[in-house]
Symmetry: C2
Subunit: 703 residues, 2 copies
Amino acid sequence: MDLVNLVIIIACVSLFYALFLFVKVKSQSAGNERMQEISSKIREGAIVYLKRQYKSVSIFFGTIFLIMIALSFCGIIGKFMPYSFLLGGLLSGISGYIGMRMATMANVRTTEAARKSLVKALDISFSAGSIIGFVVVGVGLSGIGICYYLLKQHLIHMDTAYNIESILGEVITNLLTFGMGVSAMSLFARVGGGIFTKAADVGADLVGKIEMGIPEDDPKNPAVIADNVGDNVGDVAGMGADLFESYVNSIISCSALALGSGFGESGVILPFLLAAVGIVASIIGSFFVKTREDAGQPQLLFTLRKGIYLSNILMCVFSFFLIKNIFPNNLNLFFSIFFGQICGMAIGYCTEYFTSSAYRPTKELSRSTKTGAGTVVISGLSLGMLSAFLPVIIVSACILISFFSSGGRIVTDFQIFSKGLYGISLAAVGMLSTLGITVATDAYGPIADNAGGIAEMSGLTEEVRKRTDMLDSLGNTTAATGKGFAIGSAGLTSLALVAAYINQAKMINPSQIFDLSIINPCVLIGLFVGASLPFLFSAFTMSSVGKAAMDVVCEVRRQFKEIKGLMEGKADPDYQSCVDICTKASVRQMLVPALIGVVSPLAMSLFLGVSGVSGMLVGATVSGAVLALTMSNAGGAWDNSKKYIESGHFGGKKSENHKAAVVGDTVGDPFKDTSGPAINILIKLLAMVSIVFVSIAVSGSLF
Amino acid sequence: MDLVNLVIIIACVSLFYALFLFVKVKSQSAGNERMQEISSKIREGAIVYLKRQYKSVSIFFGTIFLIMIALSFCGIIGKFMPYSFLLGGLLSGISGYIGMRMATMANVRTTEAARKSLVKALDISFSAGSIIGFVVVGVGLSGIGICYYLLKQHLIHMDTAYNIESILGEVITNLLTFGMGVSAMSLFARVGGGIFTKAADVGADLVGKIEMGIPEDDPKNPAVIADNVGDNVGDVAGMGADLFESYVNSIISCSALALGSGFGESGVILPFLLAAVGIVASIIGSFFVKTREDAGQPQLLFTLRKGIYLSNILMCVFSFFLIKNIFPNNLNLFFSIFFGQICGMAIGYCTEYFTSSAYRPTKELSRSTKTGAGTVVISGLSLGMLSAFLPVIIVSACILISFFSSGGRIVTDFQIFSKGLYGISLAAVGMLSTLGITVATDAYGPIADNAGGIAEMSGLTEEVRKRTDMLDSLGNTTAATGKGFAIGSAGLTSLALVAAYINQAKMINPSQIFDLSIINPCVLIGLFVGASLPFLFSAFTMSSVGKAAMDVVCEVRRQFKEIKGLMEGKADPDYQSCVDICTKASVRQMLVPALIGVVSPLAMSLFLGVSGVSGMLVGATVSGAVLALTMSNAGGAWDNSKKYIESGHFGGKKSENHKAAVVGDTVGDPFKDTSGPAINILIKLLAMVSIVFVSIAVSGSLF
C-alpha cells in the first residue's frame, strides 16, 4: 500500500475523532433561556464577523488567483499553482470556521457543566478544544496528503517518460503554493480576529473597568458581547488558523528540502508520516486528560501536562521506529526530530517562567505597579525583551544539533549541506507533530473564558464563575507551551523555507551562481529591509487596534452618557453597535498588514533578485522571531500581573496599583494577541510568496 | 609636508576655536547669588557623578588592559594594542568631561543672558554647544592623527625592510583597538548618564508632576537638582561621548578598508582629511548662527538650519576638490561622500516628521491621549515602529549607491568587491564630517533646558523661562538631525566594521576560506543571536532605569511625607540624597549592559568562529538599527506630544489627557535617552571587540 494513503486515512481518523467529540459535546444541555440567549448573541456576532471577513478575503484571493492564472498562461508559474493556492486558503478558512462554531457551541455548555462540577466543565471545554485541535491537524494533513496523491498520480499518467524526480519537484512546487494560500488566509484570520478581539477588549476594559468601575463581563457594559465574540474570532478562530499554518507549512517546507538533499521520495513523505503518527499519539494522550472534583490548580495543571507529555513520549517512540523503517542507514535523523520536541518544550518553559505569576519576573512586574503606569510599561517591555534571549539560544542549539545530526556538513557540496537543512526542518515537524493535543490545551482556555462571561452575564452563582476562572487561568499557562511550539517552529520552518527558496532558484537556472555572502550589499540590504518588516507590520496592526479600540471607547462612553438608566441596570445597552464597529474596523484594517507580506517579496524580487530576497527572508525571520517573543511574552506577563493583583496582591482590585496594571494589560493586548503571533505567519508568508514567484527574482531583477 | 600633519593642525585649530569660545562664554555674568548657588549645586552633583563613574570604569578598563597585556605577551595581539585601547578610552572620557564642565558653566550664564534678550541667550547657549562640538571633533581627530603619525614613524624606524603595507596594517590594527577603547568608554558614558538622567527625570515627574501637581523644575521637588544634573551627565556628556564614538569609529573603519580595496595609503588618510575639511566647514557654518531679537520659532529654526546647511554645502565643495586632488582617477568616490551627507539629512527629516508636533504623527499621538494612557503607549510604539521603515530604505539606498559609485562590483575578486565596502564607509564619514556644528545644535538644547530650570528655581520672571523654553523646544527639532546622522552612520559604520573584521581574519590566515553564506548554520545562528542582543541590551538598560527611578520615586515620596512644610515652601528638600541615589544606581547598573558588548563577541568567537561572529555582527546591526530608530523616535514623539498638550491642546496641562501623555513620556524617556541611542554604540563595540580578538575566532573556535 502506498504510505500516503495511510497518512490520509489517519488524517480522516483525526476528523472522525473530532466528529465523535462533537456529538458528545453537542448532546450536553445548553443551560437556561438567559444563557442560551447570550450564547446565541455571541454566536451570531461571530458568524456575521466571519462572513464579512471571508467576503473581503475572497476579493483578495480572487485578485491574486486571477494574476496567477495570467502568469501561468505566460509560463511564469505552473498551471496547477493557482488552484493549489486557492485550496490552501479554503482549507485554512474552513478550519477557522469550524473552530469558531465549535467554540460558540461549547461555551454555554461549559457554563452549564460548571454549574454541576469542575470535572464536567473541564471535560466539556477540553473536548471542545480537542475538536478544534483534531480538526486543525486532520484538515491540514488530509489536505496535504490528497493534494500530493492526486497531483502525483495525474502527473505520472501525463508524463510518459515517468521521471519521478521531476514529477515530485512539480508536486512540491504546488504544495508550496498551497502553503502560500494557507499563510495568506491565516494571516487574515489572525490579524482580523486579533484586531477585533483586542479592540473590543481594550474598549470594554478602558471605559467599563477603569472609568465606570464595573467588573469584567458586567452585562451593563455595551462592549461585553463584542468582547466575548472577540474571544471566539480571535483567540479561537485566529489562533486555530495560526497553528494550522504552522503545522501545514512545517510539513511542506520539510518535504521541499528532501529532494535537494538526496533523501528522495521517502524523504518527501517522511514529514507526512511523522505528522500522522503524531495524530495517533495526540489522540491517545487526550484520553488521559481527566481530573478529580476536588482538584486544585496544581492537579489540574498536572492533568493537562500529563496529556501533553504522554503524547510527546509516544511520538518519540513512534518516530524512532518510523525512521528505523524508512531510513535504517540514517538513524540520526531521529535526533533532529527528538531535539525539535525538546526545544519546543524548553521554549514553552521559558515562556511560562517569564509570563506566569508563579515566578519572579511577573511578580517583580506586579511590584512595579507601585510607581504607576509608566514604570509598569517600562518593566514589562524590558521583561519581554529579556525573555527573547533564551529561546533564541535554544533555537540556535536546535539548529546546530539538527543540522549535524541529519548528516549536514558545512562544505561546498550543496547536497551534503542540504542534508543539514532538511534536519532543521525535521526538527520543526517534530515540534509540531503533537499539535492536536497542543491546540486542545490552547483552545479550551478561551472557551472557559467565554463560559465565565456567560455565567457573569446570566447572573449565575459565584461558584460557577470560580470554576470557569480556574480553567481559564490555567489555560494561560498551558497556552505558553503552545506558543513555545509555534514560535520555535516558525523560526525553524522559515529558515527551511529560505533554503527551499534557494533550491527553487537553482532549479530554474542551474548555471547561475547566487552570491549569498552576508557582505554582499544586496544581501545586506535584504537583511536590513527584512529586519524592518516585522516592525512595520506591527506598527500597522497595533495602530489598527488602537484606532478600532478608540472607536469602541467612544461608542461605549456615548451609550453610558445617552442611555438613561444604563448604570442602574434599568436599561439595556446596544450590544450590536459595538460588534458592528469591531467587525467593520477589523475587516477594513487587516488589508494593509497582509499586503506587506505579499508586496515586499515581489518588490525585492524585482529590485535585488535572489540574493536580496534571501537576505530579506532571513532578516525578517531573525528580527521577527525576537520581536514576536518580546511582544507575546510582555503581553502575557502584563495580563498575568494584572490577574495577580486582582487576586489580592499589592492592593488588589480597584487600587491605584490595579489601575496601573490595567494600563500594562491594555498595551499587552495587541502585543500578545494581534501583532506578536501574527509576525510568525508574516515571516512564512514572505517566504512562500518569494518561492511561488521565484522566477521573477531569477530572471527579472534590476541588480 | 605630510598630509597627516595638516590633519593634526586642523584638529588643533578646532580645539583653539573651542578655547576662544570658552573665554567668551566664561566672561559672561553668572547671574545673582541664588542662581549661582543652584548652578554650583548642579555642577557639584555632575562632578561627583563623573568621578564615581570614572572610578568604576577605570576598574573595567584596568582589567581589560591587563588581559590584553597578557595576550600581547602570548603573541595573540600586538604589543601596542593595550595602550591604544587605553588611549581611546581616555580621550573619550576627557571629551565627555569637558562637555559636562562646559555645559554646567554655560547654563547659568544662559539664564542670565535670557534675562536680557533672546539673541543673547541663543548666542551663549549655542557658543557653549559649539565648544562641546569642536572639542569632540578636535580631540577625536587629533587623537587619531597623532596615534597614526607616531606609530607609523616608530614602525618605519624599527622595520629595516620598510614594507609600507605591513606597517600601515599594524597601524590600522592599533587604530581599531583605539576605537574599541572609545566604544567601551562611550557606552559607559551613554548608559550611565542615560540611567542617571532618566531615573531622575521619571522620579521627578511621577511624584512631582502627577501625584503632587507641582510644575516642572519646581524647587519644592526633591529630585529637581538630580534632574538638572542628569541633563548634564546624560544629555550633554553622554550624548557627547556617543557622537565622539560615531565620529572616531566612522573614520577608523573607513581607513581599515582602504588597504584591502587597493586604495593604498591615500585611501587610509582620506577619511582623516575629510574630517579635517569638515571641521573647517563647521567653523565657518557656525559663524552664521545669529538671530534677531523679535525672532519667532520659524526664524530661530531657520538660523540654526542655515549654519548646518552652509557647513554641509561647504563640505561638499571641499570634499570634491579633495577627491580631485587625491584620487583624480576615482572621482566617483565623491558621490559616496555626497550621498552619505544627503542620506544623513534625509533620515533627519524623517525623524523630524515623526517626532515634531508640527506634523501629523505626533498630533495623532496627542489625540490618542483622549482614551487614556494605554492607547497613548500603543500609538507611540506603533509610531516608532512605523518611523523605522523609511530610514532603513534610505540607508539601503545609500549602501547601494555608495557601493557602486566607489567602484565596487559583486564579483569574486575580493579587492574589487572591497572597493564598494570602502565606498559605504566613506558615506558614513561624509555623514559625520560636519559633526562639529551638528553637536553644537544638539548640545545647546539641554543647556537651554538647564537654563530654564535655573530660572524656575531662582524664581525669575515668566519672560526668562519663555525664552529658554523657546530655545529648548527648538533644540528638540534640531537634535533630530543629529540623531539622523548618528543612526545612519552607525548602520554604515558597523557594516564597514564587519568587512574590516573579515579582512583582519583573512590577514591572519590567508589560506582559510570563510563560508559567509546566509544559509550556513553558523552564520544563521550568529544572525539569530546577534538580532537578539540589542533587545537583551535594551532589557537591561530599561530595567535599570525602572529600578533607579523606583528608588527616586520612593525617596521623593518619603521627603514629601516626612519633611514638614515642604509643600508649603517653608522647608527645603534634601536634594543631595536624590543625586546620591541616581549616582549609585547608574554606576552600579551600567556594568551588565556593557559586559554584553564585550562578552558576546568573545563567546561567539570561541563557539562558532569567524562565520558565527560575522553573522552576529550583521544581525545586531540590522535589528539594532531598527530597534534604535523605533525607540528613539517613539520617545521623541511622546515627549513632544506631551509638550504639545502642555501648550494648550487637547485640554492642556493638568487635564486627564495630559496625565496620559505624561505616562507616554515616562515610557519614552529611557527609550530615547538611554536604550535607543546606546544601541548604536553597542553594535560598534561588538564589532570592535570582535576585530581586536579576531585571532581567537580564526584559530580557537569549536565549530
